[in-house]
């Protein structure tokens, strides 16, 4: 393990601060063909819900300038199938598997969390920010009050530490982050995708069946960096920053803005080795700058 990159997120030890983001990495298997997942600080599972979900109909992906819009709609096999088919493999990996959980209402969040109590998850990422499901999590993530309420209930029920994933589409992220902190969240991750719209003028039609969709990728980086900074200023719990990170320099900027770990999403599609390139780049930076640990440049503003 790299001395310079080893990172504690709350009590959880990450080999390095680099974590592929939920929904962009499947359950890891696909990327195993490209590299050894144990090189990663951690990885986030696709967003899971209590019941299996088929996801949204119609076009699900649309490219935009330096960005990607998606309307996957939380397609996933459900918590039971995850525990049965994916977890046995994931739990053997010597890296932090973060389990991302979505829900359509309080009941479904809590039942999902309860089921996860049966396995040894190191960290849950509570997704209250998916913009792509109508009756979905984002409703909770828009306001500090509702975000705090659901966080409190989930934290109470869960045997595992809970990190809450915030939306960039609602009220002030700093306020929402504070509400989650007060409700017992161990950490915060942000940003989920930014709500956007695409129109196919040739077809005189809206691109996505679901009307709006989520924007990610380099285009959103300045917004994500600002929100990460705002949240890091507002709370004491650790933050995983993400949104448009494509190089180690981007990752470093999020760390300088205060992020403890960073997640890499869309860039996995552009370059399947992106997380490794980022790890290598951060390592080289620490060596060049003579840092004992990357923490020395964390949150310097």
């Amino acid at each position: 393990m790299s001395k310079q990159l080893a990172t504690k997120f709350g009590e959880i030890l990450f080999k390095n601060p680099v974590v592929p983001a939920s929904g962009t990495f499947g359950f890891g298997r696909e990327y195993e063909a490209y590299y050894d997942l144990e090189k990663l600080g951690g990885l986030c599972s696709k967003g899971l819900t209590l019941e299996p979900k088929p996801g949204n109909s119609g076009i699900r992906l649309w490219e935009t300038p330096a960005g990607l819009m998606n309307s996957i709609g939380l397609e996933n096999p459900g918590i039971d199938a995850f525990i049965e088919k994916e977890w046995p493999h994931l739990k053997e990996l010597d890296t932090v598997t973060v389990v991302n959980v979505g829900g359509k209402d309080e009941e479904s969040y809590l039942q999902a969390i309860e089921k996860l109590n049966a396995i040894e998850v190191k960290l849950i990422e509570l997704n209250i920010s998916c913009p792509n499901v109508k009756a979905g999590g984002m409703a909770y993530g828009m306001k500090a009050k509702t975000a705090g309420d659901i966080t409190k209930k989930v934290v109470k029920l869960s045997n595992h530490p809970v990190m809450v994933k915030l939306s960039p589409n609602g009220d002030s992220v700093a306020d929402i982050a504070k509400a989650c902190e007060e409700s017992g969240a161990l950490g915060i991750s942000l940003i989920n995708t930014v709500q956007g719209m695409a129109i196919d003028y040739k077809k005189k039609a809206v691109v996505f069946d679901n009307l709006y969709a989520g924007l990610s990728g380099p285009a959103v980086k300045p917004i994500a960096l600002r929100m990460t900074h705002q949240v890091c200023q507002a709370v004491k719990i650790p933050v995983m920053g993400m949104g448009g990170i494509s190089t180690w320099e981007d990752a470093l900027e999020f760390i300088m803005a205060g992020a403890t770990c960073i997640q890499v999403g869309t860039m996995n599609f552009v370059n399947p080795l992106a997380p490794l390139d980022i790890i290598d780049g951060l390592q080289a930076y620490c060596e060049k700058e003579g840092l004992a640990n990357i923490a020395e440049v964390r949150g310097i503003f």
């Binding site: 962009t24 990327y31 109909s57 649309w62 996957i72 397609e75 990728g217 599609f269």
Partner: protein, 233 residues
């Protein structure tokens, strides 16, 4: 990173590019290609048109920014390949009837060639339909027993499928649906689907298509499916 060996227009808006590549490549598989930094952001899925002696060929239509940039690559320049991806066509043993429409003929040539190699005695018939200009037809004529051409019409109007023939089709969705409709239920029909793709390897769930057995990923579980799996009936 692969080196471009040649890259030329073979018809209006249709390019053929050959790159150096070593590996096992099956007909119907595809690669994710890119030859740019981050604009456009995603790589482009392109099928294998031919593969032989370390030479991998793509046949592609210039429709937008990505394919336009590919078309400007000169010999010796670099292109980034990810693949081969997908399952491709199953090994076909009976007689083969191939129906291609427009640029949908791209993956079919390597299929036909490969079929010929493994089935010296099998019969291979080809239907090719184009809107206005035909291309690539000679290649098919060399590899297949029979080539039927249609320009400007509806290819399924002339399509006659013999009993026992396995049908493989690739082209515009309407064409594939109509092939799926006119071919008798007893014939096996394979369709090669397209979908917008981000990862190409099964991680993003962006290319899902609904099938009889639930959602399938075009990139990982396809791009080739049985007609009745994907409700093309």
């Amino acid at each position: 990173m692969a080196v471009v060996l040649s890259n030329e227009f073979v018809s209006r808006g249709i390019c053929r590019m050959t790159v150096a590549f070593k590996g096992d490549v099956l007909p119907g598989q595809f690669f994710m290609l890119r030859a740019w930094d981050k604009d456009p952001l995603l790589s482009r899925p392109i099928s294998v048109h031919d593969y032989e002696d370390g030479k991998l060929t793509f046949l592609y239509q210039v429709v937008g920014k990505g394919t336009e940039m590919l078309s400007r690559l000169t010999p010796q320049s670099d292109v980034t390949l990810q693949g081969p991806l997908g399952n491709g066509f199953p090994r076909i043993t009976g007689d083969l009837c191939v129906v291609g429409g427009g640029i949908g003929i791209a993956p079919l040539y390597y299929l036909v060639k490969n079929y010929r190699k493994h089935n010296p005695d099998g019969k291979c018939r080809v239907y090719l339909g184009f809107r206005d200009v035909a291309y690539g037809v000679e290649d098919f004529e060399q590899a297949a027993d029979e080539v039927n051409l249609d320009i400007g019409g509806i290819i399924t109007d002339q399509l006659q499928v013999a009993s026992g023939e396995v049908v493989v089709t690739c082209g515009p969705e309407v064409m594939m649906k109509s092939v799926a409709k006119v071919v008798p239920a007893e014939n096996r029909v394979y369709v090669s689907l397209e979908a917008h793709m981000a990862c190409g390897i099964g991680a993003c769930l962006g290319c899902t298509c609904a099938t009889k057995y639930g959602n399938r990923k075009v990139c990982q579980d396809g791009p080739v499916f049985l007609r009745d799996e994907v409700f093309y009936v």
